[in-house]
Amino acid sequence: MEIDPFIFRLSIFILAIFVGYYVVWSVTPSLHTPLMSVTNAISSVIIVGAIVAALAGDSSNIFNTANIFGFLAIVLAAVNIFGGFLVTHRMLAMYKKKKKNK
């Protein structure tokens, strides 16, 4: 009997929840704000679905409703990706240790 591919995806999902659980508990509380902004940026990987939807068919298709929704999603996700990673970078650059011998 063959295993439904859904089960494999479910396994990835469940294992990733556990990975997330342990990784996030090890995040230092002082970095919880950057954690939120970076999770925000990476959850915008949803853009891959938007790209597939937007580029479906040939060039005459790009004004189909489904494609237009894809393009709209691309803009939204792009705002998030660039904004999320850059603002995280900006925050992390501010965290400095005490200067020695002071």
């Binding site: 591919p5 859904f6 995806r9 999902f13 990733a16 997330g20 659980y21 990784v23 996030v24 090890s26 230092t28 509380p29 002082s30 970095l31 919880h32 704000t33 950057p34 954690l35 939120m36 902004s37 970076v38 999770t39 925000n40 990476i42 959850s43 990987v45 949803i46 853009i47 891959v48 679905g49 938007a50 597939v52 939807a53 937007a54 580029l55 040939d58 060039s59 189909n64 494609n67 929704f69 894809g70 393009f71 999603a73 691309i74 939204l76 996700a77 705002v79 998030n80 990706i81 660039f82 904004g83 990673f85 850059l86 603002v87 970078h89 900006r90 925050m91 400095k96 240790k97 005490k98």
Partner: protein, 464 residues
């Protein structure tokens, strides 16, 4: 590109995202972690574009849209003041939610592209997955908009409640499940649209009863939702990068919500059901009776702190509102020149989002190894000469330990009352967000400094 190779690349970006979060375990490794995240994203976007094999007009549009969105994002990221981080994150959550809804709509209208069947004959499993993705995405979208408006002050931070609220939410929840069930049976397009509209409504109704002080929980919760929405879409599109990311973000937000609830000693459901702070009228009025309060000016405070050997600073949301973090660091610099040992104590729910105070102090060039979490510093208050409370209130209220009737009873607090003297910078004696009076104001060893947090801190620096 073969489907297998594509899946391997998605797996690689998923692993890079895990490493991005792993990097945040310490500030030294965090910057490298962020880089991993960026590489993971670049790989995912790059291979997806190549896999579509469409480099005609659509591709040009894609690049234009990426540049437009990217520039807006970059502009916001560079312009936003650090005090506005909570609103920014709430705003970004709403975008993820809406993007999830749009992708779900695309998949519903054009299922062939994603190998999900044909319009009107979409596979049942895919239909359930995309309905869940769309519903959670829509709830995240409107919920985050409300959170954004409340944080930005465009909407009152006080809870909005009405009778039958929970009942309506329950009914809407049942309708949502029913809609998904009928959608699977009939594949009717209108059911799909109604599902989205009702989910949008649920998002609004879920967040309006939650008050301003509970925003750390709400933001974390919406963070979690945006993850589950992404995972739902990931299942629909059979994309492992999305499934892994969704699971990571979902559990991350859930853990943060848990930490925030624990910081307030409240259950998650208690926060979600909302209305906190609206029912505390009785305790508010009882405090109207005049109790003696010692108040002082900047010179008194400067004198006390200059002669102290150790000072602990307790910042709160008021510091963020007054933008006092830079003034505070200057004051600490002068104190250090006088040989005073200074450290900072951060309560888990200080501010409007997890870690908010740490970012503000980092912005003001406070070294992160001078900043301590509640459990690491709480014992030090007993040996400290002066506690300087700036913009915090409820998180220092000793009533949380003594009065079982109090709404904040059992909440972990910073034991500032144990220090030899307490300096409390506050505009007035008004109670904090929990709507309860702080016993600390009337203590023998407390000196109230009635002023704007920033102005008072600057004045103290001058007199030092």
């Amino acid at each position: 590109m073969s489907a297998n190779l594509l899946a391997i690349f998605y797996l690689i970006s998923g692993v890079l995202f895990i490493l991005a979060l792993r990097g945040l375990s310490s500030p030294e490794t965090s910057r490298q972690g962020n880089l991993f995240g960026i590489i993971g994203m670049a790989i995912a976007i790059g291979v997806t574009i190549i896999s579509t094999g469409n480099f005609s007009t659509g591709f040009i549009f894609l690049i234009i849209f990426l540049i437009v969105g990217g520039s807006i994002g970059a502009f916001i990221a560079f312009k936003i003041p650090m005090t506005a981080m909570p609103e920014l994150v709430a705003g970004f959550h709403s975008l993820v939610g809406l993007a999830a809804v749009f992708v779900a709509i695309s998949a519903f209208l054009n299922p062939e592209v994603f190998n999900l069947g044909f319009p009107g004959q979409i596979k049942i499993a895919s239909l359930i997955e995309m309905s869940l993705g769309a519903a959670i995405g829509a709830i995240t979208f409107t919920g985050s908009i409300i959170a954004f408006l409340k944080l930005r002050g465009l909407m009152s931070g006080s809870p909005i409640t009405f009778t039958g609220q929970h009942f309506i939410n329950l009914v809407l929840g049942i309708i949502l499940i029913g809609l998904i069930f009928y959608l699977c049976n009939t594949q009717n397009e209108y059911l799909f649209w109604s599902l989205i509209v009702i989910s949008l409504l649920v998002g609004i109704l879920l967040i309006i009863p939650i008050g301003g002080a509970d925003m750390p929980v709400v933001i974390s919760m919406l963070n979690s939702y945006s993850g589950w929405a992404a995972a739902g879409i990931g299942f629909t599109l059979e994309n492992s990068a999305l499934i892994i990311t969704g699971a990571l973000v979902g559990s991350s937000g859930a853990i943060l919500s848990y930490i925030m609830c624990k910081g307030m000693n409240r259950s998650f459901f208690n926060v979600i059901l909302g209305g906190w702070g609206a029912t505390e009228e009785s305790s508010k009025s009882s405090s109207k009776e005049q109790k003696p309060v010692k108040s002082g000016n900047a010179d008194d405070a400067a004198f006390l702190m200059k002669n102290a050997s150790s000072v602990i600073i307790v910042p709160g949301y008021g510091m963020a509102v007054a933008q006092a973090q830079h003034a505070l660091r200057e004051m600490v610099d002068s104190l250090k020149k006088n040989g005073v040992k200074v450290s900072y104590a951060i309560h888990p729910v200080a501010g409007r989002m997890p870690g908010h105070m740490n970012v503000l102090l980092a912005e003001a060039n406070v070294p992160y190894d001078e900043v301590f979490e509640l459990e690491d510093i709480n014992n030090d208050f007993a040996n400290c000469d002066v506690a300087y409370v700036i913009g915090a209130n409820d998180v220092t209220n000793p009533i949380a330990k003594t009065d079982p009737q109090s709404p904040i009873y059992g909440m972990p607090i910073l034991d500032v009352e144990k220090s030899k003297s307490v300096l409390f910078v506050k505009r007035s004696l008004s109670p904090g967000y929990a709507g309860i009076d702080n016993d600390l104001f009337y203590r023998e060893n407390t000196l109230m400094l009635f002023a704007d947090a920033k102005k008072m801190t600057e004045d103290i620096t001058k007199s030092l």
